[in-house]
Amino acid sequence: MPEPNGATSGPVRVSVANDRDEIERTAAAILVKLEARGYSKASIFAIKLAFEEAITNAFKHGHRALEADPPVSVDYEIDDDEVLIAIEDRGPGFDVKEVPDPTLDENLTVPSGRGLMLIRSYMTEVRHNKAGNRVEMIYRKPANSAK
């Protein structure tokens, strides 16, 4: 289906290296489609935040044990009411249950560990594959579209 700005819809898969310019180009490509489909400022803020946190996690934690730092796969599909973004790294994966709750009093002064909880807070649904090296994030536009 054509979009107002001429961007094409349908699923997109890109390979993204651990390079700031490349990450920003991918984020910009997603944001253009969100704007074209009328997502609000608050929705775009939420989706951008989740994308940034997930891709940072992929390189920083997912690839921690790897000697090289290969690109990650980013899949995204943007419809009028729903956005899917999936990020898959090449690392061995992790157990999401092992991630401590950063909002507990004893963890408030710990500088790390907030990325995943922010993703969960801002996205409608978050799934991980069994290996723990792929995260799928779904955002559904609120019914009143005020957010």
């Binding site: 940034e52 500088p111 922010l118």
Partner: protein, 119 residues
């Protein structure tokens, strides 16, 4: 080797070091590291660090940036200093609320109110 360009505007008024970000997005790991190093340098040279960080120009910040703020706060407390945050956009303030960091940091609506709050 040329010194890296600062990502901060820094000035001192009435014994309070005011820091403002140049970038609208505080997302890049390397930049966050550089910002942390620069602010840590300010804390190191102060006997009684009194730091006011303004988010006036900031549209987005990552959890890594929050981590750096926590490290800065920990170091300031170790030295018996004081940290204030101010001018935080409503969407970013929500990030502080979700992470409960609004309970860790002393956050003021404006830079002026934050400046007046130093003891």
């Amino acid at each position: 080797m040329a010194e890296a360009e600062s990502r901060l505007r820094i000035n001192t008024e009435a014994g309070v070091t005011r820091v403002e970000f140049i970038d609208r997005n505080i997302l890049d790991e390397a930049n966050i590291q550089a910002i942390g190093d620069e602010i840590n340098g300010l804390i190191t040279v102060a006997d009684d660090p009194r730091l006011l960080i303004s988010f006036r120009n900031v549209d987005h910040l990552s959890s890594a940036a929050l981590g750096t703020l926590i490290t800065i706060n920990n170091r300031i407390r170790e030295k018996g200093g004081q940290l204030r945050l101010a001018d935080i956009d409503a969407q970013i303030y929500e990030v502080f609320v979700i992470t409960r960091l609004n309970r860790l940091f002393e956050i003021h609506e404006t830079t002026e109110k934050a400046a007046e709050s130093f003891g």
